[in-house]
């Protein structure tokens, strides 16, 4: 078996996602890691108006975006840019 395909439960990292949207009523993190589920990763509003979530992600590269009041929003501070399966521009993050 190719070892690259073996899931490694210990290879998880805590990652900070911050979305600066002080006027928003809700912000959710969506990405490959949650099958772009709009409900599974709600972010928490901070006193300064930014929204924060610190999920654990597997080692590797992940596509993600923020849903700001239901609108798919690209992270302006993202490490990279690509498209998701719906051909929408989304962000890239490396977890190592």
């Amino acid at each position: 078996m190719n070892y690259r395909n073996q899931p490694n439960a210990h290879n998880m990292r805590s990652v900070n996602f911050v979305c600066d949207a002080p006027q928003a009523n809700s912000v959710t993190l969506v990405g490959d890691f949650n099958n772009w589920n709009a409900h599974s990763h709600p972010m928490k509003k901070q006193p300064d108006g930014a929204w924060l979530l610190r999920p654990e992600l597997k080692h590797g590269h992940h596509r993600y975006a923020f849903l700001v009041d239901g609108v798919l929003t690209l992270d302006p501070r993202a490490m990279g840019v690509t498209r998701n399966d719906k051909d929408q521009h989304v962000a890239l993050i490396a977890v190592s």
Binding site: N5, H61, G80, T82, L92
Partner: protein, 312 residues
């Protein structure tokens, strides 16, 4: 080697695809040999690590222009570096090349012939200041480019170097490259800018099938990244951009007006050639071409006026 910093060891790739190929690193050796080998030592420390990780990486290739070799054939440090550092960690391809992009063509072509359908090819330019603190940061991020191609099934991943808006290369891209792209290929130019501000980046990785398509098209001796991105957009390929850090070319210094002029001229020449290739089967294409060409002249002159003001 002085102040050597440890290069991170490659980690297993994350992919859901059972058919995982190899990553082929292709190093483009600097055309002009610098006196200090510190930057190259840092680079080849990474290359050596890749060579030792044969489960993930194919044997690296170093492309060296024969003119570079001939100019340094009597230099003991050069011959020692080649024999003791480059050769143990990579196969050297000595080639006569008219320009850097032909070195890419030779190296990527050789790697492609060794590769297979699931493989990914990783271009690593040698003429960067890898020995600096920021250069080391770049070295630690470069591996992300081929990994993104593998893990996320991307056809091409461009590495972007962050630079402030007054950086000479950024100015040339803003006022020259993009101005001409918007003129000759407006929608494709906009699409490319959705991904990157540096469409002439020398850091990239490509999937086997897309590289095969590109190798079999006309390959330009310069500005080939722009050409690759255009074809990626034309053919609706999967494109990614990833930040690899902050870095400057060696030798350090400002771009001369002459160099900027040459870069803008080359971009225009390449874009004209591609436009003709894509439209010459259409009726009255030459009439449209002449109109575009006349306006392109204005765009290029305006770009040069701006760059003269900013770079002098």
């Amino acid at each position: 080697m002085s102040a050597s910093r440890k290069v991170p060891a490659p980690q297993p790739l994350r992919t859901s695809n059972a058919a995982v190929g190899k990553i082929h690193p292709v190093v483009i050796y600097p055309f002009h040999q610098t006196k200090s080998y510190e930057d190259l030592h840092q680079l080849y420390e990474l290359v050596s690590t890749l060579a030792e990780t044969s489960s993930i990486y194919a044997r690296p290739i170093t492309v060296m222009d024969r003119k570079t070799y001939n100019a340094n054939a009597k230099s003991k440090p050069f011959l020692k570096f080649r024999a003791n550092v480059i050769e143990p960690s990579s196969d050297i391809l000595d080639a006569w090349c008219v320009d850097t992009c032909q070195m890419w063509y030779s190296g990527l072509g050789m790697a492609y012939e060794r590769g297979g359908p699931n493989d990914v090819y990783w271009l690593i330019p040698g003429d960067f200041n890898y020995g600096s603190t920021v250069g080391h940061e770049v070295l630690s991020h470069l591996h992300d480019l081929p990994e993104i191609c593998v893990e996320l099934q991307q056809d091409v991943c461009i590495g972007e170097i962050a630079a402030d808006h007054n950086n000479p290369k950024q100015l040339i891209d803003t006022y020259g490259t993009f101005a001409l792209l918007y003129h000759w290929f407006p929608s494709e130019g906009r699409e490319i800018r959705e991904y990157t501000e540096r469409p002439r980046s020398e850091f990239f990785a490509m999937r086997h099938s897309f590289l095969g398509e590109m190798l079999n098209r006309r390959w330009f001796a310069y500005e080939q990244t722009v050409v690759t991105l255009l074809h990626a957009v034309f053919d609706k390929k999967h494109i990614s951009r990833f930040m690899v850090g902050h870095i400057s070319d060696l030798p350090e210094g400002r771009e001369s007006i002459s160099s900027a002029m040459q870069q803008v001229d080359r971009t225009e020449r390449v874009l004209k050639a591609i436009w003709r290739e894509r439209h010459q089967s259409q009726p009255d294409w030459n009439k449209r071409y002449r109109m575009l060409e006349a306006k392109s002249d204005e765009v290029r002159r305006t770009a040069m006026t701006i760059l003269e003001n900013l770079l002098t």
